[in-house]
Symmetry: C2
Subunit: 82 residues, 2 copies
């Protein structure tokens, strides 16, 4: 999930969507290989302003011990075209 | 993490911080019991507008298989007073 200045937010979302699915305003999810994860981080590092922008990655080697629950509206998703 | 209308966002953050630590603009983390997790969801349900607002919960029974990485600035945190 990211918190990015207005100017760069579109580029961050576009880059992230090459690798992950968009699930909420500033949240993406998906299966990603170690190689692509490193590529994604490198690409985002070249876009963001590290003094004001922030991106958090949570990675799970298995989804066996994790759950995901949404309250309210489900935004994002595959069907949304930017 | 949440995506909440301006009017309700302060209340959502305040409520969430009773149970969790704030780590980024719209992201909180923490250890939470099943009981408190249900309480938090009930409280947030009474605040949000489910037609426009969205809250996603990721829960892990163990942190053994998960990792967390931040690029850019680390926002939030215990020391920040709203």
């Amino acid at each position: 999930m990211y918190d990015i200045g207005q100017k760069r937010v579109g580029k961050v979302l576009k880059t992230s969507r090459k690798y992950l699915n968009w699930v909420q305003n500033s949240v993406l999810e998906g299966n990603i290989s170690r190689v692509n994860y490193e590529k994604l981080k490198a690409e985002l590092n070249s876009i963001i302003n590290p003094e004001v922008d922030s991106v958090i990655f949570y990675t799970f080697r298995t989804t066996k011990y994790s759950e995901r629950e949404i309250i309210g509206i489900q935004k994002g998703g595959e069907e949304v075209i930017l």
